[in-house]
Amino acid sequence: MSSNRTPRRVVITGMGCVTPLGHELETFWRRLLAGESAVGPVTRFDASTFATNFAAEVKDFDLRAIIGDAAEGHAGAGLGTRFAIAAATMAWRQAGLAGGGAHDPERTGVYMGSGEGSLDYENFFASSLAAWQAETRSVDTKTWAAQALEHMNAVLEVEQEPHVSISHLAREFDCRGPAFNCMTACAASTQAAGEAYEIIKRGDADIMLAGGEHSMIHTLGMTGFIRLTAMSGRRDEMDTASRPFDKTRDGFVMGEGAGVVVLEELGHALARGATPLAEVAGFGSTADAYRITDIQPEGLGAQRAMSAALHQAGIDPSKPDDQGRAPVQYVSAHGTGTPENDGIETRAVKGVFGDQASRVCFSSIKSMTGHLIQAAGAVELIACVLAIRDGKVPPTINLQTPDPECDLDHVPNEARDLSGAGGVDVCLSNSFGFGGQNDTICVKRFVG
């Protein structure tokens, strides 16, 4: 391949999110800084008897309220896809790209880490049970096919394919450039943003819409995680069930939503008068190559992902920065609140930052938003950019009982205002997926 690609700088010029804490950037951020919990009983379906009957749901979401009549073009879209269209619209507007004419479709791409949609459960279950033969303990496939072809919703079924939200975004925003969807489980949207950054950096596009969407608050989504014993079972204390880094943590709390950023080559952004909100400075992707169900105990894969991102950003994690601050002021933790993740992630941060680790703010917004699964990384990246803007770091709430395994500065329960201490200039955002896929992205304050 041609080799004379000079490194290009990549900045974020727009952001949008749909989260359990709000569908608008400033609401989301205000509530994060206030330490609010979005967790409540599941309302999407009757989960009353489920071991985990609570989640952080997106509330009062109406695509039409955000994009108006254009919503008609996405009538059949699944919930996650509608989240993505709303988030991307807000990002596109903030970037000053709305109204058309400001982007070259051929040089504009989409990279999402979108999750699968929800099945037409009612008709799927009915078709399956109608075809069930108790004697042979098997489904009569011919009967099943006839039932399913007649009763299941074809549009819903096709729409739940994970790359479909990209198809909607490419149509809505007229993007003909590189288009990808990745499914690296809980790491997906950090990966998407990182890969999109690489695509712009190497010159294959000038603008990328990047992020992810997901909702697994449905029958089999909740069932799957309950069977894996990955979710909190604190039915009686659901408000405080999401407890990353707390000694009493017993699993994550499911969230849902979407986060989308507009990534843009710096020169392209400046030439059209856009305002860089932050610069993407590095990206690391690794595999644990350890076990399907467990994380490498020292978090070596996570350490290599963080190290790669830092190296590209030119940051030495073993030394204070030139103002004497921590080398990175904020690390947005994967911080799911599972017993396994938080201890290992803490060890990994220590492994990378050494003596500096205890000086780094290292909190998990999943304590408030729940775990947005494939959308988590993009929303956490957005929180990092807002932290840089305001010099404030969101807290880890519900952190009441210290865990000796998680003994870094997790910004317990109250947001930290660092604006008097030099603010926040550099952040890492970590996302790790089932099966051992690790992604870290580094963003820093844009300095021209």
Binding site: P105, W132, L149, V155, S167, P178, A179, T184, D204, T223
Partner: protein, 491 residues
């Protein structure tokens, strides 16, 4: 042109930090191993033989009773035994692998052996021993990018559990389903009847994760889910990872099986499949680019390629299939799903994303359209996709298109969805290796097809193949193109 590591800025970090990360940029990326699994059988040789002989390997679907579906023909992988392709210590893990994952695991094992590389997991397998003198991969310098689809839950397994939670009219009872899950109870009549690891079996990234675990591939890892083009996009992106210096070697490709109830249902709903009725003659449905086609035949399988930096390949004396000379990607835009809830724009539409991707791949390779010796197109047999593809190719190549040779794969083995693009790349690389155009299967015969491509049936023959374009449209519109080039500087 300078070959080999071009170096990166000296690392300025303490040694303790260095051990985590190095970056060695490489200019050229080459294919040194092919692991293919398809209806033609297991191994690149089986695929090549079927293509070369013009054998139709699709036939009546036997994996399930398909008689309730409009399409009852497909390309099944015969005798797939993933157990025989993993180390003894990993055999137990095959129980939590969906068929898609098994296909990828087998393809990866074949690929690493074919490349003359070895890993911690490549030695002691029954079916695929590593040769003496194989070069051991370095874990943190080995990446893995495997395309996947949405893995289908096994309807039997799921319904067996659902059937324990029904009301007195036999309808699914959600309250009962949830009841067994509370307070650690496993619930005889509830979700507790699903295996604890049930969901893990169906995560699309499990293809890549099992491969990374078996072989200890700790480098950059990704799972791209863009239907038929997934394999092309993975090979293109993995090439970029090697170019930018983040890995020396990558497993790259894709695999999928939709030969299961939910898979066939979704392809039927998406209007991708031929209506075969009672016919058992699969060759009659090999009709890419024909107006009389009603859809393609589903296949399963895919391919994993070992790709590596040329300098790395040369240093170890590897045999090179071809250079990954250029890569481009794009999005087709409208329509998203012609005939499902978009209008089908008909035979005059051009897949604008594919046009963009092909142009980008040619530019990236530094070649002009008239340097392309052969094209390996998607040839899905889906009328709307075929129309978009052939018009995109005509827009790139103009009248010369009719003179460029075409290699098709779908008529032989069906369309293996997320594995399809990787099989196209394998076919292209094998054709370059053999300097031979495989036979072409096409039911309508030469002279009758209205396509501007050379797609009529023909026998195989020797040919001088230097530069080959591989591309495919996809359901959903994310598309990719790769230019493969014969390596004139073989190690």
């Amino acid at each position: 042109m300078g070959i080999g590591p071009t170096g990166c800025p000296p690392l300025k970090f303490p040694r303790a930090f260095d051990r985590f990360y190095t970056r060695r940029m490489q200019r050229d990326v080459v294919i040194t191993g092919i692991g293919a699994v398809s209806a033609a059988g297991t191994g690149a040789d089986a695929l090549w033989q079927a293509l070369d002989e013009g054998a139709v390997k699709t036939g009546p679907i036997s994996a399930l009773d398909a008689s309730g579906f409009p399409c009852r023909l497909g390309g099944e992988v015969p005798d797939l035994k993933a157990r025989d392709f993993v180390p003894k210590s990993y055999r137990k893990a095959t129980k939590v692998m969906a068929r898609d994952t098994e296909l990828a695991v087998v393809a990866a094992q074949l690929a690493i052996a074919d490349a003359g590389l070895s890993s911690r997991g490549s030695g002691e397998t029954g079916s695929c021993a590593t040769g003496d003198g194989a070069h051991a991969i370095v874990p943190e310098r080995t990446g893995c990018q495997i395309g996947a689809g949405l893995l289908s839950a096994e309807v039997n397994e799921l319904t067996a559990a659902l059937a324990t939670s029904t009301d007195d009219q036999g309808r699914f009872d959600l309250k009962q389903w949830g009841s067994g899950s509370a307070a650690g109870g496993d619930g005889a009549n509830a979700m507790g009847n699903l295996p604890p690891l049930w969901m893990l079996k169906y995560l699309p990234n499990m293809l890549a994760c099992h491969v990374t675990i078996i072989h200890g591939a700790e480098g950059p890892s990704n799972t791209i889910t863009c239907a038929e083009s997934s394999g092309i996009l993975c090979v293109g992106e993995a090439s970029r990872v090697i170019e930018r210096g983040d890995a020396d070697v990558c497993f790259a490709g894709g695999a999928e099986s939709k030969l299961n109830p939910l898979g066939l249902l979704r392809l039927t709903f998406a209007k991708r499949l031929a209506d075969t009725g009672e016919s058992s003659d699969a060759s009659a449905f090999a009709l890419p680019y024909s107006e009389s086609s009603t859809g393609g035949l589903p296949g399963e399988g895919g391919a994993i390629l070992m790709i590596e930096g040329r300098a790395h390949a040369r240093a170890r004396g590897a045999t090179i299939y071809a250079e990954v000379a250029g890569f481009g990607a794009g999005h087709s835009g409208v329509p998203i799903f012609p005939g499902v809830f978009d209008e089908d724009p008909g035979p005059t539409q051009t897949d604008a994303g594919l046009f963009r991707a092909i142009r980008a791949a040619l530019d990236d390779a530094g070649v002009e359209p008239d340097e392309i010796d052969a094209i390996v197109p998607g040839a899905l047999g889906v009328p709307s996709a075929d129309a978009g593809e052939q018009n995109a190719l005509r827009a790139v190549f103009g009248d010369r298109l009719a003179a460029i040779e075409t290699i098709t794969v779908a008529p032989n083995v069906g369309v293996a969805t997320a594995g399809h693009g990787a099989l196209l790349l394998a076919a292209g690389a094998l054709a370059i290796r053999h300097q031979r155009l495989p036979a072409r299967v096409h039911a309508s015969g030469t002279g009758t097809e209205p396509s501007p491509l050379r797609v009529g049936a023909c026998a195989s023959r020797d040919a001088s193949l230097h530069t080959v374009l591989v591309c495919t449209p996809s359901l959903g519109g994310q598309v990719g193109a790769v230019v493969l080039r014969k390596s004139d500087r073989d190690a």
